[in-house]
Amino acid sequence: MSSYSITEPSPRQKWAAGTLVIAYAVITLLPLVWILTTGFKSPVDAIAYPPKIVFEPSLEGYVNLFTTRTRVTPEQLEALPPPATWYEEIVRDRDMVIAGPSRYGERFLNSVIIGFGSTFLSVFLGTLAAYAFSRFKIPLKDDLLFFILSTRMMPPIAVAIPIFLMFRTLGLSDTHLGMILLYTAVNISLAVWLLKGFIDEIPREYEEAALIDGYTRFQAFYKVVLPQAATGIASTAIFCLIFSWNEYAFAVLLTSGTAQTAPPFIPTIIGVGGQDWPAVAAGATLFLVPVMVFTILLRKHLLRGITFGAVRK
């Protein structure tokens, strides 16, 4: 293309477009910035009116997120030895002592276990299936692929009742394994479709060369194809992880304690007289940050991931 093109927008158009987009981005990011900053506000600052933009940073929200506390009388407080840690000190300022850890850590850990477990499983099974769909003649291939995709259209609540009953019968309800299997089933359609796209793009000649060199089909698969598909596998994994990380409907319907993830838990963080917003914001921030980081790392594969590759960029 020449340096001048009639389809190239003028500098003024670019400037105007840039300004409008940045204005939208600023407005759209405001709620996120608000979550981040509220986590570092004291409870009083968090509910101040007009909303405080400049405030004295406090870690009280994070302390409240990770602990449970009990109120004590000033006399009892006097009788206690001086606070041993900085977080003990923050709590004492509010006439309280730390009674124990909260359940946030546990829930977060559940999110990690279930998220990574189901991601590993769906990428593992998805890679195998995608390879087979990409390279072999499979009877009714197109129908099978469409069937795999169509499972994603089902509303979670429509299958929640029998899954609930099934899990109860099999002893899988409220277990990590049950949730891992469930999220794997939801994610696998995405994994197969995405990975098939990636594997289709690897030239078959590579494997053929390997087969001639005396590799078996299986060796050719894991010594030649897998390394080539590594980027695709990584971005598929992150999309699966983001989904199971954020999932709420199944988590709230099928788990109650041991296997409950963070999304149903964060909204239940209660302080004195309603939600403890700095603690909620702190919990949300810790929970959202990994996804935000992944999103930024993933931007090149974003479109394919959210649309199952139905739109090629």
């Binding site: 840039g18 987009v21 009116y49 509303p155 429509a158 197969v192 709420y248 935000m292």
Partner: protein
């Protein structure tokens, strides 16, 4: 049949060892690789769906496992189709679907069109705009209840800052007229980037030479927009609408946390209503029939829509 030394060795080798030397046949590998996926989907998706269909003909209640289950034919379906409350939830869902799609398409397309002007730093801003859609709807919905608080919330403050309306004079969540808009706003905030990304892919798929040809024909910019840009992006846009439509029809997490279906039941969308029937009133058989009705509705609408989409693509 000749009997060379090699043949003798081959015959003497047990078949299992031979298979190991040769590796699995392609056919075996294909099945070995596909089977676990298909099995998992059958177990966790198709089997439950068939079970739901079966339950939909019964008066089963999941909280009373010991009770005898009667098959009551189509009575559950009959009750759903004549239930006035369900029509109200359907209306609430339709209202929600209509406005979220209109707003997301308008804003999303405009943004994509602007970003396609290729200004400096557009990739960075695109990535930032996309962030809300990657977050957990339940967590985000919960935090928006804070932003919507009439006295202390950022939203009301922002509105009053720009319009001068008293921030404590309206509440987005508690008000019967405003509550549907409260969820429409958050959904639009979260999912406009999705429509934007797909439109952007559409815009980038239009080759420059088409515009260059139009320019030579002296077509006005306005005309180029309507005769080139819009028709070329339309299939992409329709795909975005399909995805958003299916997702919003099953919308659950965001709304549960944001309004919980209230006030009254003005924001009680179908899946929230369904959850109430299934897991609060424990009318399992009835809820199963309800789930099937919704499922058939989504599939019916989606397949009609896909036909229309294919027609647009063919043009």
């Amino acid at each position: 049949m000749s009997d060379t030394p090699i043949d003798r060795v081959a015959k003497a080798t047990p078949p299992s060892v031979a298979a190991k030397i040769r590796g699995f046949s392609d056919r075996t590998i294909a099945w070995l690789f596909v089977a676990p996926t298909i099995f998992l989907l059958l177990a966790v998706n198709i089997f439950p769906l068939l079970w739901t269909i079966n339950l939909s003909f019964t008066n089963f209640r999941a909280n009373r496992p010991g009770r005898e289950v009667d098959y009551i034919g189509l009575r559950n379906y009959q009750r759903i189709l004549t239930d006035g409350d369900i029509w109200l939830t359907m209306q609430a869902t339709a209202h929600f679907l209509f406005w979220t799609i209109v707003l997301q398409v308008l804003i999303g397309f405009t943004l994509a069109w602007l970003i396609n002007r290729k200004f400096k730093g557009n990739d960075l801003w695109t990535t930032l705009i996309v962030l809300p859609m990657m977050l957990s709807p339940a967590v985000v919905g919960n935090f928006w209840t804070f932003l919507y608080q009439p006295q202390i919330g950022l939203f009301n403050y922002g509105v009053s800052f720009f319009t001068g309306i008293d921030p404590s004079s309206f509440q987005m969540i508690g008000d019967v007229d405003l509550a549907p808009w409260a969820i429409i706003i958050v959904d639009t905030w979260m999912w406009t980037p999705f429509v934007m990304l797909i439109c952007l892919a559409g815009l980038r798929s239009i080759p420059d030479y088409i515009y260059e040809a139009a320019e030579i024909d002296r077509a006005s910019k306005w005309r180029q927009f309507w005769t080139i840009t819009v028709p070329m992006v339309l299939p992409f846009l329709m795909l975005a609408v399909l995805f958003r439509g299916i997702e919003n029809f099953k919308m659950f997490d965001l709304v549960v946390q944001l309004t919980g279906g209230g006030p009254g039941s003005v924001t009680e969308l179908t899946s929230i209503n369904l959850k109430r029937e299934a897991f609060e009133k424990w009318r399992t058989g009835y809820a199963s029939a309800y789930a099937i009705v919704l499922f058939v509705t989504v599939f019916g609408l989606a397949s009609i829509y896909v036909k229309a989409l294919n027609k647009v693509k063919e043009r």
